[in-house]
């Protein structure tokens, strides 16, 4: 495969609240989640998407660019991406982006990808653990006018301008082929994301967006001014690029709340309470009866 041309990839990632470790205190009375009460993490399947891109780079050469849209603190997932192997990271942040639904988000990402590219492959996680919509990836592909392979688990082959990948579906799997450039959404079973490299973490620990300079200087007084820090970061390739709506040429009506037709009609606050209990006799018969009941109620099986 080495005689083939290198592959340039972009991975679109999201910083999400760690909903896997949700607790009672995190939920508000009206059934929404207090995002600030949960640690912000790298969306798990986005890590699988990044890993897939890094593995392709290992086989074929090329670059991996990681892009996220979010508040300034989303720089944390970009640093994590750098520690794990990304070549270049871009933070899309702008007050105008706030309140975006999937349509407005995919529009912003489209503008950013067009500016940062061209890319041979785009990768997204299958879905984010906060919204669980799985829409942004497909919408982005549509907006860019490129083919998409959703639920991708394995890349079978990349040859010439074609990619062959295996998708996992509820009913089984299928192997599909399409032309490059293409967008893949990657499932969690695709791979085991690599850990951060200690060397990369040491080399890139100061990687920062301009909004973070004050915090860095507080920790490292040797940098006496923002300008001095910026010179150092730029010289070492550690300045995280920050792009606004204007930078990517996004139209104001299509971003953020303004560009988001989605409206939350109603929130159902579901309280799960166990009111009754049952004692199962600790005998083979008792256990068999319980299993039968669970199957009958569609709880298992």
């Amino acid at each position: 495969m080495t005689d083939q041309k290198p592959i340039h990839s972009a991975v679109l990632v999201k910083q999400v609240p760690d909903t896997h470790n949700i607790t009672g205190e995190v939920m508000t009375k009206d059934g929404t989640m207090n995002r600030n009460a949960l640690p912000a993490i790298f969306n798990p399947e986005d890590l699988n998407a990044l890993e897939m891109a890094l593995q392709i780079r290992e086989r074929r050469g090329g670059t991996v660019t990681v892009i996220t849209m979010g508040p300034p603190k989303a720089a944390n997932v970009l640093r994590d991406a750098l520690f794990r192997g990304a070549d270049r990271v871009i933070l899309l942040t702008d007050r105008k982006f706030a309140g975006a639904d999937t349509l407005a988000t995919s529009y912003v990402l489209k503008c950013a990808v067009e500016k940062a590219g061209p890319f041979d492959l785009l990768f997204c996680g299958r879905q984010a653990i906060d919204g669980d919509t799985a829409q942004v990836g497909p919408q982005l592909a549509e907006k860019l006018g490129i083919p998409q392979i959703t639920y991708a688990e394995t890349i079978v082959e990349i040859s010439g301008d074609q990619i062959v990948a295996e998708r996992v579906l509820d009913s089984g799997s299928e192997i599909v082929r399409c032309k490059l450039p293409a967008l893949l959404t990657v499932v969690g079973s695709a791979n085991t994301p690599r850990p951060a490299s200690v060397r990369r973490r040491i080399e890139r620990k100061l990687a920062a967006a301009p909004g973070e300079y004050a915090a860095i200087r507080a920790a490292w007084p040797e940098f006496e001014s923002d300008a001095q820090l910026e010179t150092y970061l730029t010289a070492h390739g550690l300045k995280i690029a920050v792009w606004t709506a204007e930078d990517i040429g996004a139209s104001e009506e299509q971003v953020g709340l303004a560009g988001s037709p989605t409206q939350v009609h109603k929130i159902n606050f579901v309280v799960l309470e166990s009111t009754e209990s049952k004692t199962i006799p600790a005998t083979p018969e008792g256990i068999a009866a319980m299993v039968q009941e669970l199957v009958h109620e569609y709880i298992v099986g």
């Binding site: 760690d18 470790n21 640690p39 690599r194 850990p195 951060a196 490299s197 200690v198 060397r199 990369r200 973490r201 040491i202 080399e203 620990k205 490292w220 040797e222 070492h236």
Partner: protein
């Protein structure tokens, strides 16, 4: 939040924060002059310490999330041997892959060979974290001493070829010393090294046994290079890069550390490279290797003890008997307290030892580079650091591995019957820890290594410094006890030094080493109370527990009663 064996371990974080490596790093980082040359080199002391924290964070997370969950599986599957080929268990292979991706191999090697140039002090903490996750894996990870030894004594060409492979985790190392008839007595090694005078090539022939990680691609092998010799002075050290002449004959079926393959190796006219000078194989290079490995095994026992304590701590909260969690029962609380205090006191000794080893190494290098003109002050400091490193290393190997065994025993007691069952982690830890006070020199051999130094009063400068230091007012009682115990110890040293019967000195040596361990650990935990109030109960409990035993041992050593020796001849013949 992700799990981490660094962030969940307050005492380890405390030890890192307390490490004073200024003197070490000034030399090791050459005045922080490598920052412009290597992107991962620190700009200053704070930057270096921050880097070390990163190292422990990355490793701590990897071990908690990826290694520890599969420790039972690694033990169950074990290393395989089939048709002369050794393979690691699947979880071991996965762990090695992850450590490689995290670029954690070659930790101590210089940057020019792709290493992280980490000091021994940090490396020991890394070994502890790995061993806590999977004790057998430590023998693959923890053999980085071999690469360091090659770095110290190898020729430039060999170093440039071999060391970058260590840094990338492409090769692992093995320390090939032991033979069937040369265990504790390595001077009896019989594997032959012959020199082809025409080509200048060495070849090895012989069989080595009990070789930890013997499948390694790069081995350092102790062999007899001087024909007709029969003692340690005829031995040299060789480097072997595995090829078809190296045959693994079997792997051992062990009690514990199942994921670590222990091999019997046959060399059949195997090409080898001489390391350093002929005839110095045992005295200099094996000792260098073993000093490093002893510290690593002390850290391994520390990690297992930490794991065992946590198992007991958790179980004692969950297990209800007599209507309450068993930890509320004084008999159980006593076990938990002993474990907790013992682990923290030992961790303090481990950190102190590693620091002296670091100082010794950096001064050794500085003096080597300075040649005969080296600064006399540096020479004096080197001598002092070496004496302390060589005293504290066998002490901490002895102390930590015995402690690890004790803590695992106590943890199993806390578990009661279930602890004896395979389903519980303590059953595995109990088996794994048992090797630590056997390999790299048994506890009995550590006593032999330490006693000569102690009788030479190598600890005196430290004891004097600690006695002269200030401690919190509410620790005055403990300080008074330690001043008294220091005098007890000194009298015991005098008595044993004056003892003319060599057998009696050897017989009572272990009591004196016990005293030294208790005394040094006591001063160290007392010193900790200067910076952390939470260490006060630790220091009080530790000192309360060892003080009476130390006094009793003082009496034993000073009396040096000949009765047991007479009984040995009367009863055992």
């Amino acid at each position: 939040m992700s799990d981490s064996f660094y962030f969940d371990n307050e005492d380890l974080q405390f030890r890192l924060a307390q490490l004073d490596l200024r003197e070490v790093l000034e030399l090791k980082e050459k005045g922080y002059s490598e920052a412009g040359k290597y992107t991962a080199a620190p700009r200053n002391y704070a930057d270096a310490m921050d880097d070390y924290k990163i190292v422990l964070e990355v490793l701590g997370e990897l071990c908690a999330e990826r290694v520890a969950p599969r420790a039972a599986e690694a033990d169950e599957e074990g290393a395989h041997f089939e048709n002369g080929v050794v393979t690691y268990a699947a979880p071991t292979l996965d762990a090695i892959a992850a450590l490689k991706q995290a670029e954690l191999f070659g930790a101590m090697l210089p940057r020019e060979f792709g290493g992280l140039n980490l000091p021994e002090s940090i490396y020991q903490m890394m070994v502890e974290i790995v061993a806590r996750a999977e004790s057998g894996l430590m023998t693959v990870f923890g053999l980085q001493e071999i690469a360091s030894m090659i770095d110290e004594y190898g020729d430039p060409e060999t170093k440039a070829r071999v060391l970058p492979k260590f840094s990338r985790g492409e090769v692992s190392g093995a320390m090939v010393l032991t033979e069937a008839d040369a265990g504790s007595d390595l001077g009896a090694v019989a594997t032959r090294a012959t020199l082809d005078e025409a080509t200048g090539q060495w070849h090895l022939n012989g069989v080595k046994r009990f070789i930890t990680n013997g499948l390694a691609d790069v081995s350092v092998v102790l062999a007899r290079s001087e024909e007709g010799s029969s003692d340690a002075r005829g031995l040299s050290m060789f480097l072997v890069e595995k090829d078809e002449t190296v045959k693994i004959r079997r792997i051992e079926n062990k009690m514990g550390i199942h994921s670590s393959p222990t091999c019997e190796i046959q060399y059949n006219n195997t090409p080898a490279i001489l390391i350093g000078k002929r005839r110095f194989g045992l005295m200099r290079y094996s000792m260098n290797l073993m000093n490093g490995a002893r510290l690593a095994v002390a850290a391994q026992a520390m990690g297992i003890a930490e794991a065992a304590y946590r198992e007991a701590d958790r179980y004692s909260k969950e297990r209800i008997q007599f209507g309450k969690p068993i930890r509320a029962l004084p008999a159980v609380g006593r076990l938990l307290l002993s474990m907790r205090v013992d682990t923290e006191a030992t961790r303090a000794l481990l950190a102190e030892t590693a620091r002296w080893v670091d100082l010794w190494k950096v001064y050794e290098k500085a003096i080597g580079e300075g040649g005969a003109e080296a600064d006399p002050a540096a020479r004096a400091r080197h001598k002092q650091c070496q004496a302390l490193a060589e005293t504290l290393t066998p002490m901490v190997k002895y102390c930590s591995t015995e402690m690890g065994n004790r803590v695992c025993y106590q943890s199993m007691q806390v578990h009661g019957g279930v602890g004896y069952m395979r389903e519980f982690n303590i059953e595995r830890l109990f088996r794994d820890v048992r090797i630590t006070n056997i390999y790299e020199g048994t506890s009995q051999l550590q006593v032999v290594a330490a006693i000569g130094k102690l009788l030479n009063r190598t600890l005196d400068p430290l004891l004097a410094e600690w006695q002269a230091a200030e401690y919190p007012a509410d620790m005055a009682a403990e300080k008074a006890i330690l001043v008294e115990l220091t005098a007890v110890y000194q009298r015991a040293v005098d008595a044993l030094k004056a003892q003319s019967d060599r057998d009696r000195v050897d017989y009572y040596a272990c009591d004196l080493v016990d005293m030294a361990v208790w005394l040094v650990c006591s001063w160290l935990v007392l010193r900790d109370t200067n910076v952390l109030d939470a260490k006060k109960p630790v220091a009080r409990a530790y000192i309360a527990s060892v003080a009476p035993r130390l006094r009793a041992s003082g009496e034993i050593v000073t009396a040096a009663n000949p009765v047991p020796l007479e009984a040995i001849s009367a009863l055992l013949g």
